[in-house]
């Protein structure tokens, strides 16, 4: 199923109304964030893994911005995540341990790399993009490996000391400060991302995704838009990486590894592409499954994860979410046929 094509016959007013309607906060969304906030108080024992979920969720949102909304496939999104992590780690070690400054620096560094490499991504179609993004991540990984005087190489970056958050909250061993910090950052960035995708800019991205020739024909500056969203997405990934470095106070080469890129793609596929909550829901399912299965069978949990993924794909996540949406619509008295923000894009990687 495709979104209703963006028709030029719609008047500006109609477009604005439609955007505003889609941009409105639904009850489900409010509940989602309330539940997330509640975990801060009701699940004190699980803050460490929740922190990881929040970080992966943010990383997935970042990938969704380019994959789900602009149609740029990537197998190397870890490049930005890793650069953010290393920059945040090195910044904390060499300059100052203030978390927020470090996070901003990490985001800017990743954005710069994103901007620089976005021009490579503009060239070619999906397969080329897969290869280019993969290549960028491999190059970044090898640089981090070789520059061991700066990054610690394969032994990892050690000795990161973080200052207290806002000068008040020390990072504790229970991970509570870390989780609260990551959750707030996630929320703020999520709101921004939500604003972006429901803006005319976001709409133009979607039209590029669906048919870039036609988008160009109606006067959308395709390349500039893609560069912009790729840079924004890189900044998001960098901030996610920065959060990981700051909250675990350790960075290893692994942040740039291929499996990070693959995992985040998996998370997005589980949760749903082209739908911001998809990344968050996917992150929750993926991490919780991983945690439960790996404590039950430390040796064979990957088998079960694989099996569940296959089942998920065969049963069709789209169909499952569709049904759930329908039920939700019935329950809350909204029309089940309300315009959907998530176009089903099966058959695309």
């Amino acid at each position: 199923m495709q979104d209703k094509p963006f028709m030029s016959s719609l008047t500006t007013d109609e477009v604005a109304t439609s955007l505003r309607r889609k941009g409105r906060w639904g009850l489900g969304e409010v509940l989602f964030w309330l539940a997330a906030a509640a975990t801060l108080f009701f699940l004190p024992e699980r803050h460490l893994i929740l922190n990881e979920i929040a970080i992966i969720g943010l990383f997935a949102v970042s990938l969704d911005l380019i994959l789900g909304y602009a149609g740029i496939v990537s197998l190397g999104h870890a490049a930005f995540f890793g650069v953010g992590a290393y920059v945040a780690g090195i910044f904390a070690k060499e300059m100052t341990g203030d978390p927020l400054t470090g996070l901003a620096v990490a985001g800017v560094a990743a954005a710069l790399l994103g901007f620089a490499t976005s021009f490579l991504v503009l060239r070619g179609a999906d397969l080329t993009r897969l290869m280019v993004t993969l290549g960028v991540a491999l190059v970044a990984g090898e640089i981090a490996n070789q520059a061991s005087w700066l990054t610690g190489g394969a032994d990892g970056l050690q000795g990161i000391m973080m200052g207290p958050l806002l000068g008040m909250f020390e990072f504790d061993i229970f991970g509570t400060t870390a989780y609260a910090y990551s959750l707030v950052v996630l929320f703020v960035l999520f709101v921004v991302a939500r604003r972006i995708v429901h803006s005319p800019f976001g709409l133009s991205l979607r039209s590029i995704r669906d048919n870039s020739l036609r988008a160009r024909a109606v006067g959308i500056p395709v390349n500039r838009r893609l560069v912009a969203i790729y840079t924004i997405s890189a900044a998001y990934a960098g901030i996610a990486g920065g959060l990981l470095a700051q909250t675990t106070q350790f960075v290893s080469l692994d942040v740039l590894a291929f499996h990070r890129s693959a995992d985040v793609l998996l998370v997005l596929v589980i949760g749903g592409v082209g739908y911001l909550y998809g990344g968050l829901i996917g992150a929750v399912i993926f991490k919780v499954l991983q945690d439960i299965l790996s404590s039950m069978t430390p040796q064979y949990w990957q088998f079960w994860i694989g099996l569940i993924l296959v089942v998920l794909v065969l049963a069709g996540r789209e169909r499952l979410t569709e049904r759930a949406r329908f039920l939700a619509g019935r329950l809350f008295g909204r029309s089940a046929g309300a315009p959907r923000t998530a176009p089903a894009r099966e058959g695309r990687p």
Partner: protein, 391 residues
């Protein structure tokens, strides 16, 4: 709806996990064993887990009135996961000891936690010299690379080898091995050239070509446990075994777990290491037999013996402290000495590192299977790096 279902799943999962931890009374002593059970270093995890379980099976699960409960976690060999698991084990499960640590970065990432939480950390595998200096709560039952590499250098210089090329994995232990070997060998008048291969997905062929071009008397190798087979294969493919270049290595390369699968190409390889499954002692025979029996014929390697001795250290430490953990347990472990399957060992009271015999071995066929057969012993070797610092 869907979202809330997920939240429900999460909370339910969290609850069950949380409850599982809360049920146990104070009379249990939990040991968190964090190992790479999946991924490229899974063999390390498998060996250590099997050995730890064997030890508990042989010695019962009650020590000094406390029931020992082993909690095994898979860190997939990724450092931030190791750290998170250690943190969860300490905070949620209230473990008294954390143990395992398959690779150096994994141990180093966790070291600050051990210090912060005052929980003893028993390193059963990772072998970079500096690990025990990263936290006063770290005790090691495996060994260090310099401990194995220096005797190799001495043996080489005494046996007519003048020129050596070293080939090591490019990370902490590899660099340790390279430094220790090169230092000792050049001091004895030899000539050394150094090569390093990446730790992840190593391709040895370009490096082996360089070795072939350099025409040394011997090639000294260190690769982590499990990677040796791949190295051996490429060594033969390049024809280096026929080029008159002697292969010398630390025992990690001819790891007992995979040695038999390497085939005849491994024959004659000289290695130095602290453990061989062919070590001739009653303790070792009993250990190897029991281990094979419990694990479907799998042969224990040096990882297994590190895990076995690590459990022994925890048991004996608890006996001495009468069940107390924390600083008291670390203090009790210091200076402890016993006869392990590998031979006599002692925990150095100053450095908390292990003092053990290092054996010079040669790969031979014994009863149809390949083994590292020991032919010389260097007794009571301390970690040379720390020994040099204290002098």
């Amino acid at each position: 709806m869907l979202r809330r279902t997920f939240v429900g799943i999460v909370s339910a999962a969290a609850l069950t996990l949380g409850l599982g931890g809360a049920v146990s009374a104070q009379e249990t002593m939990k040991v968190g064993l964090i190992l790479p059970m999946t991924g490229p270093f899974a063999s390390t995890g498998r060996q250590i887990e099997a050995a730890a379980k064997l030890y508990m099976q042989q010695n019962g699960d009650t020590v000094a009135g406390k029931k020992i409960q082993l909690i095994v976690k898979d860190d997939t060999g990724v450092a931030d996961v190791t750290k998170r698991l250690a943190q969860e084990l300490i905070v949620n499960d209230k473990v008294g000891v954390i143990a395992g640590f398959g690779l150096t970065p994994l141990a180093l990432a966790t070291a600050p936690l051990a210090t912060q939480a005052k929980v003893p950390a028993v390193v059963m595998a990772a072998a970079t010299s500096t690990i025990t200096e990263a936290s006063p709560f770290i005790v090691r039952t495996s060994g260090t690379l310099p401990q194995n590499a220096m005797p190799m250098a001495e043996w080489a210089s005494q046996n007519g080898i003048k020129k050596v090329v070293t080939l090591v994995s490019d990370y902490g232990p590899g660099i340790d091995a390279e430094k220790a070997f090169s230092g000792a060998f050049t001091k004895a008048g030899g000539q050394v050239e150094n090569l390093r291969v990446p730790l992840q997905n190593p391709d040895f062929s370009p490096f082996l070509q360089k070795v072939a071009d350099a025409k040394p008397d011997a090639l000294f190798v260190f690769v982590p446990s499990g990677v040796g087979a791949q190295f051996m294969k490429q060594f033969v493919e390049r024809g280096l075994d026929k080029g008159g270049i002697k292969l010398i290595a630390t025992g990690d390369v001819t790891d007992d777990d995979i040695l038999n699968g390497m085939g005849d190409v491994a024959l004659g390889t000289i290695t130095t290491h602290y453990y061989s499954a062919a070590h001739d002692s009653p303790e070792n025979k009993a250990f190897v037999d029991a281990f094979k029996k419990a694990n479907n014929g799998m042969r224990p390697n040096f990882m297994a013996v590190g895990g076995y001795d690590g459990m022994h250290l925890i048991y004996e430490g608890l006996k001495k402290t009468n069940g107390a953990g924390g600083q008291a347990l670390v203090d009790a472990m210091k200076g402890m000495s016993w006869t392990s399957p590998r031979g006599p060992i002692t925990i150095d009271p100053q450095t908390r590192d292990i003092i053990q015999n290092v054996y010079v071995r040669k790969v031979e066929r014994v009863n149809g299977e390949l083994y590292n057969v020991e032919f010389a012993t260097i007794e009571d070797v301390k970690d040379p790096v720390k020994a040099a610092k204290s002098n």
